[in-house]
Subunit: 208 residues, 2 copies
Amino acid sequence: MAKGTLPSSGGLSAKAPEERRERILRATVDVVRTRGFAGARVSDIAEAAGTSQGLVLYHFHSLDGALDAALTLLEDEFYDDLARDLQEQAGAVQRLRHMADLGAGLGPAVGDWRLWLELWVRALHDPGARETRESLDRRWRTSLREVISEGVAAGDFAPADAEAAVIRLASLMDGLAIQLALDDPDMTTQRLADLWWDAAILELRMPH
Amino acid sequence: MAKGTLPSSGGLSAKAPEERRERILRATVDVVRTRGFAGARVSDIAEAAGTSQGLVLYHFHSLDGALDAALTLLEDEFYDDLARDLQEQAGAVQRLRHMADLGAGLGPAVGDWRLWLELWVRALHDPGARETRESLDRRWRTSLREVISEGVAAGDFAPADAEAAVIRLASLMDGLAIQLALDDPDMTTQRLADLWWDAAILELRMPH
DNA sequence: AGGCTACCTGAATGAGCGTTCAGCACGGAC
DNA sequence: GTCCGTGCTGAACGCTCATTCAGGTAGCCT
């Protein structure tokens, strides 16, 4: 209806369908964020996107299709954000510090940790989600590994076991983030960033 | 039917209903373990317990009631197992080492980590689950805190910041366990225990 | 014996929800 | 103009599943 009233406003009309699709994708992410994968309904998505249920299915074939597409979008954005953000930082120490902030949610990147929790549980039962979360994890760990290597080469870090440090620091971030995601009263983004940074100092034998 | 054929075999008949209830509870835990909270159906529970759907609802009023009861059972057993297991160990170092094994799933206690993952996500949306998981977390952290205090008093540990060490070691266990729960090919129970133990050495400045 | 209560069952009920579908609007091709 | 493909909608359709319920059995009290 609203579309019919604005039929010929330039070449935008050709892009309109794609915009709709995009809007539905965003809405799907939002719904998963608030309702969870298990609680996401086609009607929720349609309402959040301001469209009909039919259109959601028209674009994505099924509810699972929409959820999968949202997952893929999330993965791509996560990686793009991460890569871009890290490139802006100079030096291994700066980059590592930035990763602490990113993980804590202080920075612009890295979507809500609640989504990650949801992804983990979905991965327990859904092969596609499993792959996505493994890929996500691998990318994060790879970035961490590169930063640490860089720091070792530059003489900033001197870890006893670099690979173990990578896994532990990545895992620690996950574990701390759980409390953040669950609104544990003892955890804040700042505290998370500090706790993780101190662990990094310990693991990497940084002179501080 | 099977019950009708064995009517008067001693005083056990009086306990039979309670046994049935217990069986359903166990079945509920099993179903959650395999299907997840979101995928658990009354029919699954009934089938796993070898009873009718009606009886599940008779004893627990609703599906959610059964799930909640299973959660409570899990929490109680977790704590009992943990307390008993730790009491058997002598000295802070032994106890800490044992916690590494327990968390990794090498010991007898601590149910499947998949259940914990499920619990976390349920806690995102269900207040009861949130309370259970907070209680569980608190208990585990308290045990860890006590062991560390004991070790500090005995001169075994010398952490720079004992409270930060508690939170980090507890969180690290969670983070490592996620990979175990998700069958990450890079993670095994032994590796988890080793990685955690090395982190403890680092955090607590243990002489090794 | 008669009745009361706890335990248990299988079928029926009804709500919620994913998916399908008949059809409308519209813009471009011819 | 007519035709046709794409985008889109709202109303069914049909299935799954939690919950209800009428009834059946067995022990226990009086």
